[in-house]
């Protein structure tokens, strides 16, 4: 018997609303010519990166993308640390390369936990302008390797203790030039966790954008870890009263995107500081609605070869 919390119920409603709207007739692409040949729809999002996660957007083959992600500290100390700007921050440097038009690989390194990562994104299905295919679907995988000292992993240390995995199916739809939405169920696994936590977590993410000018958008998103007793290694009583579920908080993001021909910039408020999706899903303890807000900044740069 699955035990969904409030965020789980909201996630389920969002999925149903999204699926219903995909198949309704109101969303039209630029319908100006005979659909003699199926044309792929323009990307739902300007960049393949949004907040801490991926979108279904892939750059054309032989494109190199450099990524800088910066998360300041939380604002709860007020002006003492200039609302988190002077507080300990997390940063990731990454590079992605599109091998094919629908396949991207990437690597990165993150300050917290000295996390190294390898990423792969693959577009399975591409939305078309005639709406014959109403969504774009991507598969996204992030393999993290924790670079912390051996002691962190307790006794009987093995190298495999360092590995963690995030697997996600991303489903997006470009409704029109102004509005796009995506939903993404995910699965996180850590080879090594504290005894009070589960190795596995299910999650639900969503993101949306409202483009209010040719280069600027309001962007909003969330990564919500789900309390699924069926995959838990602990009893329900334990989960309800201990850190495993008590400190399970979503990563909520809201902010502003600017995109140019070669760059995308995100400036936004967030609660997750982990940067890698699995770090936020498993360990985020910042409550967006209770002094757990921080400033996030992403910069991407593209080179076409």
């Amino acid at each position: 018997m699955k035990n969904f919390n409030l965020y789980g119920r909201v996630s389920a409603l969002a999925i149903m609303a999204f699926m219903l709207s995909c198949f309704s007739g109101f969303a039209q692409e630029e319908a100006t010519e005979e659909p003699a040949k199926e044309r792929p729809a323009r990307p739902a999002f300007e960049s393949g990166l949004l907040f801490d996660g991926a979108t279904t957007t892939l750059q054309p083959s032989k494109t190199l993308e450099m990524i800088i992600q910066h998360r300041f500290g939380t604002m709860d100390n007020g002006v003492k640390d200039l609302y988190g700007i002077w507080a300990p921050s997390n940063i990731r440097l990454g590079m992605n390369y599109s091998i094919l038009n629908n396949l991207m690989v990437g690597i990165g390194t993150t300050k917290f936990n000295k996390m190294q990562d390898i990423q792969v994104k693959y577009n399975v299905l591409q939305q078309t302008r005639s709406n014959k295919i109403p969504v774009t679907i991507s598969l996204y995988e992030v393999v993290g390797i924790d670079g912390s000292s051996d002691e962190k992993f307790g006794v009987n240390y093995k190298f495999s203790n360092r590995f963690n995995y995030f697997t996600q199916i991303i489903i997006s739809r470009r409704f029109n030039d102004m509005f796009s939405l995506q939903i993404a169920p995910g699965f996180t696994h850590y080879n090594s966790v504290d005894s009070t936590l589960d190795h596995d977590r299910l999650s639900f993410s969503f993101a949306g954008r409202v483009k209010f000018s040719p280069q600027s958008s309001l962007v909003i998103g969330a990564d919500i870890p789900l309390r699924v007793q069926g995959i838990s290694e602990h009893s329900k009583d334990f989960n309800d009263t201990n850190a495993n579920w008590n400190q399970m908080l979503p990563n909520i993001n809201i902010g502003y995107e600017v995109s140019t021909s070669t760059h995308a910039f995100h400036l936004y408020l967030a609660s997750g500081q982990g940067i890698l999706p699995q770090e936020n899903i498993m360990f985020n303890k910042n409550d967006f609605f209770s002094k757990g807000i921080l400033i996030g900044l992403n910069i991407t740069r593209l080179w076409s070869f």
């Binding site: 100006t32 792929p40 030039d177 280069q215 021909s261």
Partner: protein, 138 residues
């Protein structure tokens, strides 16, 4: 001795700063050699298509405006960094060109003018940009 050294250091710094900020006169680009395939190319959208002022304008603003300017006058913020003048899309000389010529120059490019074939993949989107540039006519 120390005063002389400090003075020399200040003068060198000023000279280097000024040299770095000299703007060299831009040269107009030479005539384009347009391949036959592009000379005879025909648009996949009709004049007056609604995508011209939506998709065409959006893609122009995203990919072209930073060098060519919002009205195609060659006054975008990045234009001053280029050795070649970015032209004037409102001019008769530019507008008198065939559609295919403008298409080639815009998406295949040369030298400092990048290739945009991978940035704007859809054929009709590219023509929307070309026709949007035609709306910049004086």
């Amino acid at each position: 001795m120390k005063k002389t050294f400090n003075l020399a250091a200040i003068i060198c710094t000023v000279v280097i700063f000024m040299a770095a900020n000299v703007s060299y006169a831009q040269k107009a680009g030479g005539p384009w050699t347009i391949p036959a395939k592009y000379k005879s190319m025909k648009s996949t959208i009709k004049a007056g298509d609604p995508s011209i002022n939506s998709t065409g304008k959006e893609l122009y603003n995203k990919h072209c405006k930073s060098c060519h300017g919002a009205k195609g006058l060659g006054d975008g913020p990045k234009a001053a960094n280029l050795k070649t003048s970015t032209g004037d899309f409102s001019s008769k000389k530019f507008q008198d060109q065939a559609d295919g010529d403008i298409y080639y120059q815009s998406f295949v490019g040369r030298d400092e003018m990048p290739n945009f074939e991978k940035k704007i993949l859809d054929e009709s989107d590219r023509w929307a940009v070309v026709y949007f540039m035609r709306t910049m006519k004086k």
